[in-house]
Symmetry: C2
Subunit: 225 residues, 2 copies
C-alpha cells in the first residue's frame, strides 16, 4: 500500500496500484498478462512496466466476465477479441460482442416460436443472432416442463423489459465502437444477476400481498400437494 | 411407442408412458426413482408399477431444475424436499421453496445497499431471505466493475419487473401449499433464461434504433477503443 498516491485519470501506474484500483490480486493480473487477456504495460526498466486507464478498463471487463458471468478463460478471450476487433460502426461492434456471450445456443435449434415473439413485438433483430436461439432454447424448455409459452405472454415479458433495455442502450458511450462494445458486454452480464434477484424479491412482495393477509384463507384447499 | 393410448388426467400409466409424456428417458426415470427424487409408483406386480399425474408433475419439476437451471442432484433434492414439506400456508410454502434455489449467497454479505433498494420500492421482503443476499452480491459486483449501482437506478429495474412478478404470482394455483410451491419453483427457474434472452434481443432492437440510422455518424469518434 503506497499512501499519498493520487490517481489521476490517464496517469500511468505500476502493477501494485493497478491491482489496488481494480481489486484484482497482483498474481491474477500477472496471469492475465501471460494469457494475453491484458495487454502488456509500457516497459520502464528490465522488470518494470507501467499501466494506464485502458488496463483498468480491461481488468474490469475480465473481472466481470470471470467473476460475475463465470466464463472460462477461453470464453473471455473470445469476448475480448470481439471487443478489440476494429469495427466500422458502433452497431457492428455491439453485435459482434453480443454474439460471444454465453449461454451457447445450438445452431440447429428451431427458432420459429422465438421469431413469432419478436415479430409480435415489432423488434429489429438479426434472424441469425445468438440471442434469438437463446430465446428459442428457453421457450423449448417452457414447453418441456408444461409452463405457459404462448406468444402473447412472452411478448408481454418483452414489452416490460423494453424500457429498461432502451435506457441501458441510451447510456452506451459513443467515444468509439470498442468502448461501446466493452460497455455493452459488461452491462449485459453484470446486470443479469441484479435482474434475477430483483424478480425474486418482487415475487416475495407480490406473494405477501396476495397470500399474506389471511394465512388461513390462503392455505385453504384439499392439501393434495 | 404404444399407439392408441389415450392419456386421461388422473389415469395410471406404466414407466414407458411416463417417459413418453415427459420426454425423460426411461433410464433417467429409473435413476430418479433410485435416488428418491421421484416417489415409487403403485406396484402392480413383481417388476411392474404404475404412475400417476403426481409423477408427471414431479418429473417436470426435476427436469426444470436439472435441465434448465442446471442444478446438481443434491440441490434438486433440497428443492423437492422443500416442496414436499407440509406447510401451514401458501406463503410459508413459497418462502421455503424460494430459499432453496441457487445461486448460493454467503450469509455474511453486507445487505445494506440491497435493503435500500427494497425500501425505496416499498416491498415486503424478509430481511433474512436468500434473494436479498443474492441482490447484495449482484450489487457488489456492479461496484467492483465500476458499473452504476445507485439505489434510484436499481429501484427503476425493480419497478419495471414488479408488474411481471405480480402477474406471475397472480397465476399461482392455490389448490394446496405444495402445488403453489412447485408452481413457483418451476416458474422462477424456467422463465429466467427467457427474460435474459428477451433483454438481449431488446438491446439489439434499441441499438438498431439508436445507432442503425446512420452507421457513419454512429461510428464517429477518435476510435481509441
Amino acid at each position: 500500500m503506497e499512501s499519498g498516491t493520487i490517481h489521476v485519470k490517464g496517469e500511468h501506474v505500476r502493477i501494485s496500484e493497478l491491482s489496488e484500483r481494480t481489486g484484482v490480486p497482483v498474481a491474477t493480473v500477472k496471469y492475465y498478462l501471460r494469457e494475453g487477456l491484458l495487454p502488456a504495460g509500457r516497459s520502464t526498466g528490465a522488470t518494470r512496466a507501467e499501466y494506464d486507464e485502458a488496463h483498468v478498463e480491461r481488468l474490469r471487463l475480465v473481472r466481470a466476465l470471470v467473476g460475475v458471468a463465470g466464463l472460462s478463460l477461453a470464453a473471455v478471450r473470445a469476448v475480448v477479441d470481439a471487443v478489440d476487433r476494429p469495427s466500422d460502426s458502433v452497431l457492428e461492434a455491439l453485435a459482434a460482442a453480443h454474439e460471444t456471450l454465453p449461454p451457447v445456443a445450438p445452431p440447429g435449434v428451431d427458432t420459429r416460436a422465438a421469431e413469432a415473439v419478436v415479430a409480435e413485438l415489432g423488434w429489429h433483430v438479426d434472424p441469425a443472432c445468438t440471442a434469438l436461439r437463446q430465446l428459442a432454447v428457453a421457450v423449448a424448455s417452457l414447453e418441456a416442463v408444461g409452463a405457459a409459452s404462448d406468444t402473447a405472454l412472452l411478448a408481454g415479458y418483452g414489452r416490460a423489459l423494453a424500457p429498461l433495455a432502451q435506457a441501458e442502450v441510451a447510456s452506451v458511450p459513443t467515444d468509439s465502437p470498442g468502448a461501446a462494445a466493452r460497455y455493452v458486454v459488461v452491462g449485459t452480464v453484470v446486470y443479469e444477476p441484479v435482474i434475477l434477484a430483483l424478480r425474486r424479491l418482487a415475487h416475495q412482495d407480490a406473494s405477501v400481498r396476495r397470500f399474506g393477509a389471511d394465512p388461513q384463507e390462503a392455505a385453504a384447499g384439499p392439501g393434495k400437494g
